[in-house]
Structures are given as structure tokens and as C-alpha cells.
């Protein structure tokens, strides 16, 4: 075989080899990309399903929120302070307890806005106790940060309550 013929054959073989290698790599990477795309699609479809699931339970959740949170669930922004004061006054009236001091303050960090109520109330032991017990009925989600009961003589008692309440929905 002549040398130039050998070189030609070698060139053809190398060309074919290169073509096959590049082709295989291209096909391989194409399939890899497709596989990844399909996985992403599968994850996205699952996420859609999950989000759809949340929307499906929106109605029963709203009903439940209505039951649990009452009118306070619909309160927003500055109305929260007034709603809290009204609720406290209402339960105090019902229990026959006098609210002698009420000092609202607000804090807002990264989470929802929180209303703090420093309250001083006076009354008979059972009245004060009844007010403390019934507070969640009028102010759903209320938290008792601290409480001090100081006997005032006889059956009367003074309670210093630090309450906190946060907005339920934004």
C-alpha cells in the first residue's frame, strides 16, 4: 500500500473515530439534560399538586378560622389594640372586675406585629380568677406572659397581667 493511501485511511479512521466520540458525547449530554429536565418537571408537578392541595382546603380552613378566631381573625393593623381593649373590657364587665390600669404597647420584629397589654385589675378572688380563665374566649390567641396576684385584704385581690396578642392574618 502506498504511503499517501495509508495516510488517507488513517485520516478517515481518525475522522470517523472523532465523529463517533463527539456524537456519543453529544447524545449522552443531550439525554442527561433531558433527564434533568424531566426530574425538574416531576418536582414542579408535585409542587403544583401540593399548592393545589392547599387551595382545596381553603374553604374548610376559613370556616375553622372563623370558629377558632372569631371576630379577631378579621382584625388587622391598628384595629388590634382597640379590639383587645374592647375584649378585655367586655370580659371585665361580665366578671364584675375593674380594670384600673391598661397600657398597650406594640413590638414588631421579623414576624407579625405583637400587641402587649400591661393590665392591672382588682376584684374578688373568684372574679379575677374567672376573668383570667375566660380571657381566651374573648381574645383568641392571647398569651399570658406573666401574672402577679397580690392579696388586698379580705377576699379582694389585685392582679397585674402582662398579656400579648398577635395579628392572626395579614
Amino acid at each position: 500500500m502506498k504511503p499517501n493511501r495509508s495516510l488517507t485511511n488513517l485520516g478517515i479512521a481518525l475522522g470517523w473515530g472523532l465523529f463517533v466520540i463527539v456524537g456519543v458525547r453529544l447524545v449522552d449530554s443531550g439525554f442527561g439534560f433531558w433527564k434533568k429536565q424531566r426530574e425538574t418537571l416531576s418536582q414542579a408537578q408535585e409542587q403544583v399538586k401540593r399548592l393545589q392541595g392547599w387551595l382545596d382546603v381553603e374553604k374548610p380552613l376559613r370556616e375553622r378560622q372563623g370558629e377558632v378566631c372569631g371576630s379577631l381573625g378579621r382584625v388587622s393593623g391598628t384595629d388590634l389594640s382597640w379590639a383587645a381593649v374592647q375584649g378585655l373590657q367586655k370580659v371585665a364587665q361580665e366578671q364584675g372586675v375593674s380594670v384600673t390600669q391598661l397600657q398597650p404597647s406594640r413590638t414588631s420584629g421579623q414576624g407579625p406585629e405583637v400587641l402587649h397589654l400591661d393590665t392591672r385589675i382588682e376584684g374578688r378572688l373568684e372574679q379575677v380568677s374567672g376573668l383570667v380563665q375566660r380571657l381566651p374566649e374573648f381574645l383568641p390567641g392571647i398569651r399570658l406572659d406573666s401574672v402577679q396576684f397580690v392579696p388586698q385584704g379580705g377576699n379582694r385581690i389585685q392582679a397585674l397581667l402582662r398579656l400579648s396578642l398577635s395579628l392572626l392574618e395579614h
Partner: protein
């Protein structure tokens, strides 16, 4: 130039589609090509296989007795024996070797030899007319096949030694068949004039056959040819001259009667198609193959390349289809992904709102539980107060620890109170911060401060 087209089926039956004959004005190649082209163009369907027939007159036959059973060895030996006995070098010939009778230490073989230019001329003419030859057969053998197919069953099985003859304007094509196989062939040039002339030629042939000593004596003669060639021949006289029974192969009584009679009306009655009909009758039985090996190799190479091209095309098409399918699938995936992402963008704010509702419900419920727990803690502090004990201060700290300040009659009562508290499952620790006894008047009292650490509601 004669051309016949037939359709054969798996079971061996054949149907004649066309029989054409064109007179040739000359014997040059160009004229032959044109005549063949004319015939080919008039064929009803394209041909799948093409068989050529060479006149026995163009062949030389030789007989050898060779000491081998192997066909390849026999061929090699026959060619060796032939060298130098032919009018032209063996390299310029196309040969076909056919064993006669059983193979053994002395195998009798028939060697048909054709001058290669004659075969190449036939191949060239066919190629130029657009036909690729599948095989080339000797006219005598093809005629024998035709006569064998036409042998009437009413006359019983065909005889052992049998002389077949086809009468044409150019001369006589003769062959001797033994047990269904051609063992001798001969061509006699010149038109047949009279019955005596024909008798003489038959007798010469029978003598030549007998001289070769290649088979049993002839018992039967069959003749065929163009229908006009028989008019002047009184078969009875011929029979008596030869002393052998003579049977005429009549196209009208052949197995192809229907097709042949319909077509033969359009033909010149002088033209004999016996050799072509023989090829149709039993192409697979023809044993003398005169197509050169190089032509077969060339054909095989062409078939291989054609198959390779077809395979490559199929593979390319399959790949292209596969890639199109992959492309469509990838496009579909991309489109679905885009739609899913649009849906997510649309649903996420709505779902976030619903999640916030759920979180607020959870928060309220947790707050309620915590609140109830705190109230329970406060109630628990006062539940175990013993007679004489008073609480001056009851404070719930931010970490839910409860500080109690009060007065007890003595330390024993205070200890009992603390023990009762420790018994309660709500408290994790009950610590005494201070206890101080005081005596006022006749009674004593102990001021104390207790710090109670509750258990978490979940660990109780």
C-alpha cells in the same frame, strides 16, 4: 431476438405473461440491444430474474472419466484435461462441469465450454438493455426441460433414454436425456428441408451419441419447434426410418395450453420458443450454468452494496425518526415545565394565604393550650394550701416559673405544702428560696418564698 416472461409460484406452476420475437436486421451488438430493448419495453411487468439461453451451437462438449467424488476436484481435473484440447485457451472460456451418473473412483463428467467473448457479449447486450442476468443456460437442456414438462401422463413415465429435438430455421438443437438429466447435446446447422434430411440428422446424432458411450440407448424421440416447421414432416415415416417412437410436443396440449394458445396467435408460426419455455418449466433444475464466476461476484457485490445502502438508509431514517421523537419529547417536557412554573407562580401567593390561615389557627390553638396550662398551674398552686397558710404574692414569670410568697404557721406546714406540690405531676421542681419564722404576740408565723418550675405540657 426472442423474449418470454413468465410468473412462477412456490409450488412450481408457471403462468406465461408475454412472448415476444423481433426480427433482427443484422448480427451486430447494437442491433441486438435495440431489439432486446424493444422487447423489454413491451413486458407487462418488470422482471425479477432474467435467464439467458445460449444456443448449443455456440458450445463445445467434452466427456471425461475422473477419479474423484468431490465436485470442486472434478472441476479442477476437468479443466486440467481440457487445456490444450480446445480451439482457444482455457482462460478464454466459460465452463460448466456436470457429473453424469454416480460419483466414485471413475466419475463420468460432461464439460460444456463456451468461448468467453460470446458469453460476455450476451451479458453486455442484456446490461445495455437494462437486464441483469441471473443465469445462462444451454438451449438443449432448456428444450429438454420443456419436453419433459410436456410429456403426456397417458403415455406413462418418461423413458430412460430420450432424444429431444427442436426444429428451427437455423437448424436443430438436440439433446439426450437420461433419467431426467441432460447427458448429451448437439447442434446441427442449416434449415431442415425434407423428412429424409431430418432422418439423416437424427441418425447422425444417434451415432455420435452412441460413439461417446455416455448413456443407455435412446428409446424415444420428442420434437418441437415453430408450428410451421411441422407441416411437412410425416411423423409416421420418420418413426419407421428411425425405428423409434416419436412424440411431438404440441403447445396446444402443453400444461400452458390456455396461456400459450392465447399468446401464440400473435406470433409468427415459424418461431420456436421451446428453449425459453424450458427455462420457465424448470429453471431450478438446470445444471449447466454458463454465467461466468466474475459476473456472479459482480452481481453479489452489487447486491451487497445495495443491501448496505438500504441498511444505512434505514438506520439513518430510524435515527432521524428517533431524534425527531426525542426532540418532540424534549420540547414537550420543556413546554410542560414552563406551564408548571407558570402555575406555581400563580398558585404560590394563594397557597401562601391559605398557609397563613392554617398557621393562625395553629397559633391560636397552641396559645389556648398554653393559656389553659398556665391557668392550671395557677390553680394548682392554691389547691394544696393548708389551713393557716396565706399567699401574699403569686407571680407567673415569662418562663412559666411560678413564684409564691406567703405565710405558713410553721415550717412543718410549709414542708407539707411543698411535699403536696411535688406530688403533683405538673411540677418539675419545687424550690424553697427562703423561709423565715417570726413570733408576734403569742403566735408564730413563717414567711416563705417558693419557686415552682412546671413540666412542659407534652412531657407530663
Amino acid at each position: 431476438m426472442k423474449l418470454l416472461q413468465a410468473q412462477t409460484t412456490q409450488d412450481g406452476s408457471a403462468k406465461l405473461l408475454s412472448m415476444k420475437a423481433r426480427p433482427m436486421t443484422g448480427v451486430d451488438e447494437e442491433t441486438a440491444v435495440n431489439a432486446l430493448k424493444e422487447c423489454v419495453q413491451s413486458l407487462p411487468t418488470p422482471a425479477r430474474e432474467v435467464w439467458g439461453a445460449l444456443s448449443t451451437g455456440e458450445m463445445l462438449t467434452r466427456y471425461f472419466t475422473l477419479p474423484s467424488e468431490d465436485l470442486d476436484e472434478l472441476k479442477a481435473m476437468a479443466l486440467y484435461q481440457l487445456d490444450g484440447t480446445l480451439p482457444y485457451p482455457i482462460q478464454e472460456c466459460v465452463t460448466s462441469v456436470k457429473p453424469l451418473g454416480p460419483a466414485g473412483e471413475a466419475t463420468r463428467v460432461l464439460v460444456a465450454v463456451v468461448h468467453r467473448p460470446n458469453v460476455e457479449r450476451l451479458i453486455r447486450i442484456c446490461q445495455r438493455a437494462g437486464l441483469t442476468l441471473t443465469g445462462i443456460v444451454a438451449s438443449s437442456e432448456a428444450i429438454g426441460c420443456w419436453h419433459r414438462a410436456c410429456w403426456p401422463s397417458v403415455q406413462g413415465s418418461s423413458p430412460a433414454g430420450w432424444l429431444v429435438a427442436d426444429i428451427t430455421r437455423e437448424g436443430l438443437d438436440l439433446g439426450v436425456w437420461v433419467n431426467g438429466s441432460l447427458i448429451y447435446m448437439r447442434h446441427v446447422l442449416g434449415a431442415v428441408g425434407t423428412a429424409e434430411d431430418l432422418t439423416t440428422r437424427f441418425q447422425e446424432t444417434l451415432q455420435a451419441y452412441s460413439k461417446e458411450q455416455v448413456g443407455p440407448p435412446v428409446e424415444q424421440v420428442t420434437i418441437s419447434g415453430g408450428s410451421k416447421g411441422f407441416e411437412f414432416i410425416p411423423l409416421e415415416r420418420l418413426e419407421s426410418n428411425l425405428g423409434l417412437p416419436i412424440h411431438r410436443v404440441d403447445p396446444q396440449s402443453s400444461p400452458f395450453k390456455g396461456a400459450f394458445s392465447a399468446i401464440s396467435q400473435a406470433l409468427s408460426p415459424e418461431v420456436s420458443f421451446s428453449e425459453l419455455l424450458g427455462v420457465v418449466c424448470a429453471p431450478r433444475l438446470l445444471e449447466i450454468d454458463l454465467l461466468p464466476v466474475e459476473s456472479r461476484q459482480e452481481q453479489a457485490r452489487q447486491v451487497l452494496f445495495r443491501e448496505l445502502r438500504r441498511t444505512a438508509l434505514l438506520v439513518s431514517l430510524s435515527m432521524a425518526l428517533f431524534l425527531v421523537w426525542v426532540g418532540v419529547e424534549m420540547g414537550g417536557t420543556w413546554w410542560q415545565l414552563r406551564r408548571a412554573q407558570d402555575q406555581i407562580n400563580l398558585l404560590e401567593p394563594q397557597a401562601a394565604r391559605v398557609k397563613a390561615i392554617a398557621a393562625s389557627i395553629q397559633s391560636v390553638e397552641r396559645a389556648r393550650q398554653d393559656y389553659a396550662f398556665q391557668v392550671e398551674l395557677l390553680g394548682n398552686c392554691t389547691k394544696h394550701l393548708l389551713p393557716g397558710m396565706t399567699l401574699q404574692f403569686l407571680g407567673l414569670e415569662a418562663d412559666q416559673a411560678v413564684t409564691l410568697r406567703g405565710t405558713a404557721p410553721d415550717l412543718t406546714v410549709l414542708t407539707q405544702y411543698a411535699a403536696a406540690l411535688r406530688e403533683e405531676p405538673v411540677w418539675k421542681e419545687v424550690d424553697l428560696r427562703s423561709a423565715k419564722s417570726q413570733r408576734e404576740g403569742g403566735s408564730s408565723a413563717t414567711d416563705f418564698e417558693l419557686v415552682l418550675q412546671p413540666k412542659s405540657p407534652r412531657t407530663r
